[in-house]
């Protein structure tokens, strides 16, 4: 096996174009290597590549680690960051790794869907921006070409004032989400609901969004209907982590709970 440490983005891109396997925080790839599921011959280690570790309100470099996002990221993304693995994992794992792996359970991904973030992909011939729903195409499948690296997450400069994240799992730490969810709500009621672990890619519950966005102070019945719509719209499967039925139920409960948190903050 060969491991190289590129000194700059140009060298990293040349390595990727040459077929080398990108390694960021290693929290996904290294586990597969240790299990013998993957045996990369040539690895390009991005851990100390400062070129992709920039951070601003509208742009988060792919190499930014969860540890930093947990402290400095937008509210719901910071909340999500706090639930990624454990301190040691958050000191290693990056948002770019989460996006590149594109696990249906990626904890950072519902936020990207909720705020219509774009993914910046860069190759030797330049960069392109793909909206999240163009980028994520299936279970661990993305529109990234093999000569491209995920270099940044690009956010709008007017993120919703209220945004909340929560996840359900079998324990509090070191757990892969059974369901994770972000709800955002603007002053005028415009609401987005994004979920993870309930479909091949992160998804939005559009019908629930549409219904609740026109409700300024939803009644108990409206909140129940909102939860029901979310449960209906998700497309979970039964696997080793949970059942379809439970995930549907939990998706509705989580989305309603987060909406109520947004509404309480609105009232406060």
């Amino acid at each position: 096996m060969e491991v190289i440490h590129p000194r700059n983005l140009e060298e990293a891109l040349a390595a990727v174009a040459d077929g080398m396997t990108p390694l960021a925080g290693g929290t996904d790839l290294m586990v597969e290597v240790n299990y013998g599921q993957k045996r990369p011959e040539r690895v390009v280690a991005l851990r100390r590549l400062a070129d992709i570790a920039d951070f601003s309100p509208t742009r988060i470099g792919a190499g930014v680690r969860w540890r930093r996002i947990e402290k400095e990221g937008p509210r719901a993304l910071a909340q999500a960051a706090r639930t990624v693995g454990s301190p040691q994992i958050r000191n290693a794992g990056t948002i770019g790794g989460n996006v590149a792996t594109a696990s249906p359970a990626g904890d950072g991904l519902p936020f990207l869907a909720a705020v219509d973030a774009s993914i910046e992909l860069t190759s030797g011939s330049g960069s392109r921006l793909l909206r999240w729903d163009e980028y994520f195409v299936g279970v661990k499948q993305t529109a990234r070409r093999s000569d491209e690296l995920v270099t940044a997450i690009v956010l709008a400069d007017d993120l919703p004032e209220r945004q909340e994240f929560a996840k359900v799992g079998v324990r509090n730490a070191m757990v892969i989400s059974t369901v994770c969810c972000v709800v955002t709500r603007r002053e005028d009621g415009a609401t987005t609901v994004a979920l993870g672990s309930v479909a091949p890619t992160p998804m939005r519950a559009r019908r629930a969004e549409e219904m609740i966005s026109s409700e300024r102070s939803p009644s108990e019945a409206t909140l129940a209907e909102f939860a029901r719509l979310v449960s209906e719209e998700v497309a979970p499967i039964t696997d080793h982590r949970s059942t379809e039925e439970y995930r549907r139920h939990a998706a509705g409960v989580l989305a309603r709970r987060l909406l109520e948190r947004c509404l309480r903050r609105e009232a406060a």
């Binding site: 440490h5 586990v31 299990y35 280690a45 693995g85 301190p87 000191n91 509090n172």
Partner: protein
């Protein structure tokens, strides 16, 4: 592949096979067997070390990725035979039974106390969430870290809870 790094304050140069995990390099090449291997999948935290001051799980990092870095293992904590306050806390408050998780648990506690001088119980439990212990039920580990935090602030540690007055029935 040649790497140079600092381990517990000592400059080290070595020629390592790129597939070598950092934890294997520390244990087998450097003889620092204080860092344990539990799961090799980053779940258990037994292999926690500090890399450039931050806790990481050394079973999910290649040794070559530590080129140029400064590593602290549990062996690097004591100062001339004087236990680090966290080590002393685990000793004084029975923060271990079998001891397998202890080096990793101690390194996570050191990582926490570098950032927070007076962590709450919640913050302590959050900080060790990536370290599994199958013996203690964590209670005495939390007390051990509280002991260390007090010591490091120059205060008298809280008394052990087995000395707390018994409630009369």
């Amino acid at each position: 592949m040649k790497i140079s790094l600092t381990i517990n304050g000592r400059e080290v140069s070595a020629d390592v096979e790129p597939r070598t995990l950092l934890v294997h390099f520390l244990r087998e090449d450097q003889g620092l067997t204080g860092t344990h291997i539990g799961c090799e999948t980053s779940y258990c935290g037994a292999c926690t070390v500090l890399v450039d001051g931050k806790t990481v799980k050394s079973c999910t990092m290649f040794a070559v990725q530590a080129d140029g870095a400064s590593i602290t293992t549990v062996e690097g904590l004591a100062d001339n035979g004087q236990l680090h306050p966290v080590q002393e806390g685990f000793w004084e408050r029975h923060g271990l039974q079998c001891g397998y998780c202890t080096p990793g648990m101690i390194m996570s506690a050191v990582g926490l106390l570098q950032e927070k001088q007076s962590p709450s119980e919640d913050e302590i439990r959050h900080a060790i969430e990536g370290n599994l212990c199958r013996c203690t039920g964590y209670h005495n580990i939390v007390r051990a870290i509280e002991y260390a935090a007090a010591k490091m602030r120059g205060e008298e540690p809280p008394p052990p809870d087995w000395e707390e007055e018994e409630v009369s029935v």
